[in-house]
Symmetry: C2
Subunit: 386 residues, 2 copies
């Protein structure tokens, strides 16, 4: 990662720190280290408001450089800061929504005189406005994601189960460079690479706050495929995470085994119309709840409201910010007054679940610019017959 890019990101965080009278951040969680240091280490990045960031590395042992210090334990940080003549912060921020209680307390005890603030919402806020390089990484991710999805018809074989097809799609994603891990903010949501939902499994309620659920193969990992054979007249919604370079691009496309009923094609078109209408409205200043409400209006007029975003258990959103994690700021959901800003990147995913058929709809990733939005996942949106 080039130094000016990291400086840009750190200064974005510093500007928010200044607004909250915070003198320093001590960053310890993987994703925020990746954001501010360009790589994941076992260690800490100390970010003072007015002087260069300091890196405290436990592992790996071969990292050296200016402002890099090797440590065995976090308690050494304070001694090093004092040796280097850095002042102790009056107000320091720690990642309270990400660090475990035990780790948080240990780090908080390093600053017995300081007020402690929560770094998580502040860094998430900084991360919500992407740099030009981050948006370029999303473009590349979208291109690789598209290349993988375009090969799906070549790996389908009649008689396959949803699991067998998912395995082949996972392989296509990996061959195009997907890193595999699917990163989610919050400790509770888990998924392996993404989801593939065939037929009625698309309506199976999940413990997680993803757009749709699926039963999963085992109670040890709810979500996605359940091992059922793929059946004629049913849809397959592929929604794999697009982590090709750390950035979680997001794209869903629909495949079908043979032809579907007209109702399915109609519902699919309703989702595409909702997407296009919402995207037409999207520019800096657009309010997230207005987008959500317009989608509900449109799907209600089209007669599919009961099947929108699930059946018995529905997702409470139609879109979400994306970045190093799949669920970033903003959320496109009811009562979200947040306005779109240039640099935000979000996924929009209007989906309808039809009993006996499965999920239809579309999901793309979009970057907000000064005029409107740019599509990052350039892949045909029609249902592909397998």
């Amino acid at each position: 990662m080039i130094q000016p890019e990291l400086k840009l990101r750190r200064d974005k965080i510093r500007r928010l720190m200044q607004q909250h009278n915070i003198d320093a951040a001590l960053i310890a969680c993987n994703i925020n280290l990746l954001y501010t240091y360009g790589r994941i280490i076992s260690g800490y990045l100390y970010l003072p408001l007015d002087s260069p960031a300091r890196i405290f590395v436990k592992r790996p042992n071969h990292i050296k450089g200016e402002f890099v210090h090797n440590v065995r334990k976090p308690e050494q940080i304070i001694d090093i800061l004092k040796e280097e003549g850095l002042p102790m912060p009056a107000k320091v921020m720690l990642e309270a929504d990400e660090l475990s209680y035990t780790d948080y307390m240990r780090l908080a005890n390093l600053f017995p005189e300081a007020e402690i603030a929560n770094a998580t919402p502040i860094i998430r806020e900084a991360r919500s406005i992407k740099t030009p390089l981050e948006i370029e990484l999303f473009r590349r991710s979208g291109a690789a994601h598209t290349k993988a999805y375009n090969q799906i018809p070549t790996v389908f074989k009649p008689g396959m189960t949803d699991l067998q097809l998912s395995i082949e799609v996972e392989r296509l994603m990996r061959l195009e460079g997907n890193l595999g891990v699917f990163r989610v903010f919050g400790q509770s949501m888990e998924i392996f690479m993404g989801s593939l939902l065939a037929g009625d499994n698309a309506a199976y309620p999940s413990p997680f706050d993803f757009s749709l659920g699926g039963q999963g193969l085992h109670p040890a990992l709810p979500g996605s495929v359940n091992g059922s054979p793929l059946k004629a007249g049913e849809t397959i919604m592929v929604d794999m995470g697009g982590n090709f370079n750390g950035y979680m691009g997001d794209m869903s496309r629909v495949y079908s085994v043979g032809k579907l009923t007209q109702k399915a094609y109609d519902a699919h078109q309703v989702c595409i119309d909702i997407q296009n209408e919402l995207i037409n409205d999207s520019k800096p200043g657009t309010v997230c709840e207005d987008l959500y409400n317009k989608a509900i209006d449109m799907v209600t007029k089209a007669g599919f409201a009961d099947n929108f975003m699930g059946i018995d258990q529905k997702a409470g959103f139609i879109g979400h910010g994306i970045g190093l994690e799949i669920n970033e700021i903003p959320v496109i959901a009811p009562r979200i007054k947040r306005e779109l800003e240039a640099g935000m990147v979000f996924a929009l995913e209007p989906k309808i679940v039809l009993p006996g058929i499965g999920a239809v709809g579309v999901e793309n990733s979009w970057a907000v610019n000064t005029e409107g939005v740019e599509k990052l996942t350039l892949c045909d949106e029609a249902i592909v017959e397998l």
Copy 2:
């Protein structure tokens, strides 16, 4: 999951609670919910010392049953406990090493009068002694793991990169039923399915505390393959996570492109000898550090001490407990006075890294019984020439 099994597990936790004068546990983290409830939900399991467990479910919305309550937020738990006539605990335990600081504080505030204890070490202690069903699940995991590894020679093609081979091995694992997710205790260690280390990449230091590292494909995910072509005369160590049913079986095997130098076969045999000697000693009462020290003695006498468990950066252990997570109790490492007990399941992984050749050695999963140990990963241990 059958009720008597869950009762067995909950009572194991209750016995430890009693020793610490703890009246109740409020369990919120996925792995501990899976352990005590047999499935992952978004919600809580409240475990009183003297009355049945109560389940508080946020999602999915279709779970019903005796002692199951649907809630929107944790604050409702207290009202329901009161309605049901349950006493407020004087001392309650929360998962302090796993819950975020913010979540911990929210749950702790539900019990303003109670003393709060750390549930994490107590539940990990309970989980360290497996039930007969858990050991049977490990046996099945070992069989599926072996079936996948036995097919590795069929997917190798000359000229492949380490990444290409890894993708085919991942596919074999998934086809045998692997759930894909690789669960690690602690928030910082991440890996996709496991590792495949070819040639000198086996010596590449990692930020994580796995036995070996690897450079990885991208700074966003250090570890495992780096995209290098597989070369004649080098080894490939395959160390994939064996998560076929929630239990993380662990097994490493070595493959080679063509023949290796005699030194490589010698070093491999040293590792197998260490394994066999240590396993011969392993039974209830064996002290973990004694196993570690014996391994160091043996590898030193054999002349490979400098290359044991890495070169520049070495792992600080030669074995580790396994269970729903890959790093459970006990750890086979220096200064660990812990004794083996019947019901413990651990992985033992003596490995030697040779410059210009790669990693050799072996890893198997073992269950301690009253007499000694049972091997759970029954797969040939010789280096397989591809």
